[in-house]
């Protein structure tokens, strides 16, 4: 069985962000909005929980941020997934999968 990541809470947020960025580069508000929407409101980020996470992921080389100007002339900092981030997403998914399987065996949980 795979070793569990001790910082499971932070790991779940990382997984959520990496997963939405897998689809396309997004800016902070859009990342938070999509995670909230796709989790039916179960996962909700404040600025204090989202941006430090985004900055850490950028420093680790999982994402690359660039300032982009929207057609309306508004500047937004967009985060895109790097090859390293994509690899990390795969590893994180495996870790969470193992975690849910373990919980399922113990608690008789049903997976969606």
């Amino acid at each position: 069985m795979a070793t569990m990541n001790p910082s499971i809470k932070r790991g779940s947020a990382e997984l959520a962000v990496l997963a939405v960025l897998e689809q396309q580069p997004l800016h902070g508000y859009e990342i938070a909005r999509r995670i909230e929407q796709e989790s039916d409101g179960a996962l909700r980020f404040t600025l204090a929980s989202l941006y430090p996470l985004l900055y850490r992921m950028e420093k680790r080389g999982w994402t690359k941020a660039t300032w982009e100007t929207t057609p309306a002339g508004v500047r937004r900092r967009c985060y895109g997934l790097t090859a390293k981030g994509l690899k990390q997403l795969g590893a994180t998914r495996l870790e969470w999968d193992a975690f849910f399987q373990a919980l399922s065996r113990i608690g008789g949980l049903r997976r969606a």
């Binding site: 800016h27 508000y29 404040t46 500047r75 937004r76």
Partner: protein, 224 residues
């Protein structure tokens, strides 16, 4: 329409990150709040409610400031100060040393003993302007790479390190000479005062004058 940039900037003013990073973070967080506000308006909220919806994203400004600072702390402070102080500062020291060496090597020996005060005043004026320029370049460079006002001051005044070293050597030599003659008296006092005025006070004043225009926070850069 609410000024989200000013709001974020005010709340993150105490966060210890370099100026450039602070501006970038402030702009990004302000954009997030503005997007949340616009989305609430589009969904039919009145302005007051839209503002409240946006502000729900920041239940605790203090916690946000701490979280941002912690994530920035992962950058090495040494690395930042090497960029904002040491690099511009040591370059200005090298420029000062090169400038002084060129002047000394290219000036005929008899010119140093020229009895006309105008010659010495012109030389002192040019040296003052040269140091004023060094202070300005050091501080402007530090500001350009995101130095705080204190870091700009340190970078601009850095060539004084060279002067302190020269004065220290000169004083040490003088004191040894005086002790060897058994006369630590008038000769030493006059030398100390002259040396401090010429080697520390005058160049220090020139450097600080050069730093001044770049020491204040830039309204234009802060607004970016």
């Amino acid at each position: 329409m609410r000024d989200w940039s000013a709001l974020v900037h005010r709340h993150l003013a105490s966060v210890r990150v370099d100026e450039r990073r602070r501006r970038e973070i402030s702009a990004e967080l302000a954009a997030h709040l503005e997007d949340a506000y616009d989305a609430a308006l589009r969904s039919g909220c009145a302005e007051a409610e839209a503002i409240a919806r946006a502000m729900e994203r920041v239940p605790d400004w203090g916690a946000l400031a701490v979280a941002v600072e912690r994530s920035a702390d992962e950058d090495s402070t040494m690395t930042r100060q090497a960029i904002t102080v040491l690099l511009p500062g040591t370059t200005m020291v090298l420029a000062a040393a090169t400038g002084m060496s060129l002047v000394v090597s290219s000036t005929p020996a008899d010119r140093w003993l020229d009895p006309r005060w105008q010659v010495h005043a012109l030389a002192a004026g040019l040296a003052f302007l040269f140091y004023l320029l060094l202070g300005a370049i050091g501080a402007a460079w530090s500001r350009h790479v995101g130095g705080s006002p204190g870091e700009r001051l340190a970078a601009g005044a850095f060539p004084l390190v060279l002067h302190v070293a020269v004065v220290g050597l000169g004083l040490g030599e003088d004191m040894l000479y005086a002790f060897s003659r058994g006369a630590v008296g008038r000769h030493l006092d006059i030398n100390i005062i002259n040396m401090i005025l010429i080697m520390l006070v005058a160049p220090g004043a020139a450097l600080l004058l050069g730093v001044l225009p770049f020491a204040r926070r830039s309204a234009r850069l802060d607004a970016q």
